[in-house]
Symmetry: C2
Subunit: 323 residues, 2 copies
């Protein structure tokens, strides 16, 4: 059963990648469309368009409609990645050089802007798109609000867990929420049920973000694949660091001073792990993930059992792939 689900995911990704790869025509303005093609054809996991696919399957939306709108879902994600990478000064994305690194800042900005315009152009080729457009605009604004908070938090010493969770609901939750809502919108269900699907997306978004926060500290391979320095580790807020500060601010600050600017893999990370383990912070974070996933699933208990399974399988797949 679950194996079929994973097969369906892999089939979706294969077909979707082909559509996405051929979406832009590079002939006219290679200075713009070559980097657009570069990011659209990079090896993404397509988790957002696949979540949208699942929510559409609940309501038997025809495949051609799903595949067309899935393009906008993934392109919106790509737009945010390209601009995010500029802001975070990241050099690597999906195993390739980021656009501002391979080309330059202006190219990366314009690529993001143009992809954003393509998102809307593509939506507008469908019919009856008022609610779809509303959802895209609303969640994009939420995304910007979340990213803005994230950047502001970097310059602050102390961020409460509540503020942190609010920020990741906006930053990570909004595109997952959008992906879930869109299936309901195309399925023409009630506003109330659409919102429940959206809430599911928000909860799993928070859960996945905390999972990422844990892996950033506990998985060597992930750290090594990214271009993180300890300054970024310390300025970027995570669930673990906010919790450490909230539970034991004095010792946490002392530790930060000790490990700042030290060798990341051989000194800093082991010290952080020791601290988080000793104070039960990792366990609290893991429980929070379970909690959010349960809350998310309870939002969609109005769906028939066999349809709920789409989403619990999705969660299972993501957690497995992240470990």
């Amino acid at each position: 059963m679950y194996k079929n689900f994973v097969n369906e995911y892999e089939g979706f990704v294969k077909k979707f990648n082909l559509t996405l790869k051929n979406y832009v025509n590079m002939s006219d303005f290679p200075s713009l469309y070559k980097p657009i093609q570069y990011i659209l054809s990079s090896e993404g996991k397509r988790l957002r368009p696949f979540l949208f696919y699942l929510s559409s399957k609940v309501y038997n939306v025809p495949n051609d409609k799903i595949f067309q709108l899935a393009l906008s879902v993934e392109m919106l994600h790509c737009f945010s990645l390209v601009h995010d990478d500029i802001m975070d000064e990241d050099d690597l994305r999906r195993g390739k050089e980021t656009i501002h690194k391979k080309w330059d800042l202006s190219t990366a900005m314009l690529v993001g802007d143009a992809i954003f315009a393509l998102v809307y152009k593509n939506i507008n080729e469908l019919n009856n798109t008022k609610k779809v457009l509303d959802a895209f605009s609303k969640e994009t604004i939420n995304l910007c609000e979340g990213q803005s908070l994230d950047k502001i938090f970097e310059s602050k010493n102390s961020i409460s867990i509540d503020d942190y969770l609010n920020m990741i609901e906006l930053k990570t939750g909004s595109l997952l929420s959008l992906s879930c809502k869109l299936g309901g919108i195309l399925g023409d269900i009630t506003e109330d049920e659409i919102n429940k699907l959206g809430n599911f997306g928000n909860f799993i978004g928070k859960a996945f973000q905390i999972q990422d926060d844990i892996l950033e500290i506990y998985s060597d391979s992930l750290i090594m694949g990214k271009s993180l320095g300890s300054d970024i580790i310390f300025s970027k807020k995570t669930f673990l660091t906010c919790l450490a500060n909230e539970l034991n601010s004095k010792k946490w600050n002392l530790l930060n001073n000790q490990i700042y600017d030290k060798d990341l893999n051989n000194y800093t990370l082991p010290k952080l792990r020791e601290f988080f383990d000793k104070h039960g912070i990792k366990t609290i974070a893991e429980n929070k993930i379970k909690d959010f996933l349960d809350q998310g699933l309870s939002c969609i208990d109005f769906l028939p059992k066999d349809k709920q399974l789409f989403f619990s399988n999705y969660i299972k797949m993501i957690l497995e792939r992240k470990n």
Copy 2:
């Protein structure tokens, strides 16, 4: 008659500025909405929303509809300004510090992105917006293509006049073209007539850009109000510099080497003016402006004479304000 027109413009700007100023609610996320408010309430000339107002008046579109969509026209312009200022590293805009200068790069990027999303959110609050949305997406993509060419041209020595005109049609023409077309779209006229209005916008966009190019060299006051260094003067392509290179590449390159890195106001500009005057380049540019304006006006000769006057008055007003 013309005085009435200018009064109407000033009345429009006053009313429009009030609407625009109150558009965003700053309470929730000041880190994002304070700079958005800052750019939206800066002293713009509102030339694009006013052009849209005129094209709507031709078709007796109700005022409330005009004012709502005019917000999206101006916000699209603001989005492009905020991102443009980052790319051009400009410190000043509309007499105030640019957002990336007053805040930082991330804020300016997110402010642009969020305003872009607000453009679409606002459009979607109207009814029957398919053609409106199409026009916005298409012209935004044109704008990005134009900006991309503009940046690419900076790194090239020699750009032909044809390539330059093609670039400014995209970069400067697209939002003026959009503003003209929208009135026709709301007025529900034929596709053919909408395109004629759009072509008018493209032609006057090119004319105004060449006018700007001339003023950049010939008007002391403009230069002094901007933060231009001679490096920017030399890398940014203008109609005058492309023409100089096309007509007499050898002498032009010789001059560039002579005046590069010299005192801008006391040496470089006088030398440039001397060169452009001596080779008749300023005169050719001025004739080109007249030519584009005539071509633009001939695109809208299908309109009743009294409606054509809206647009000829608009041209007159802009040319006067620029001198």
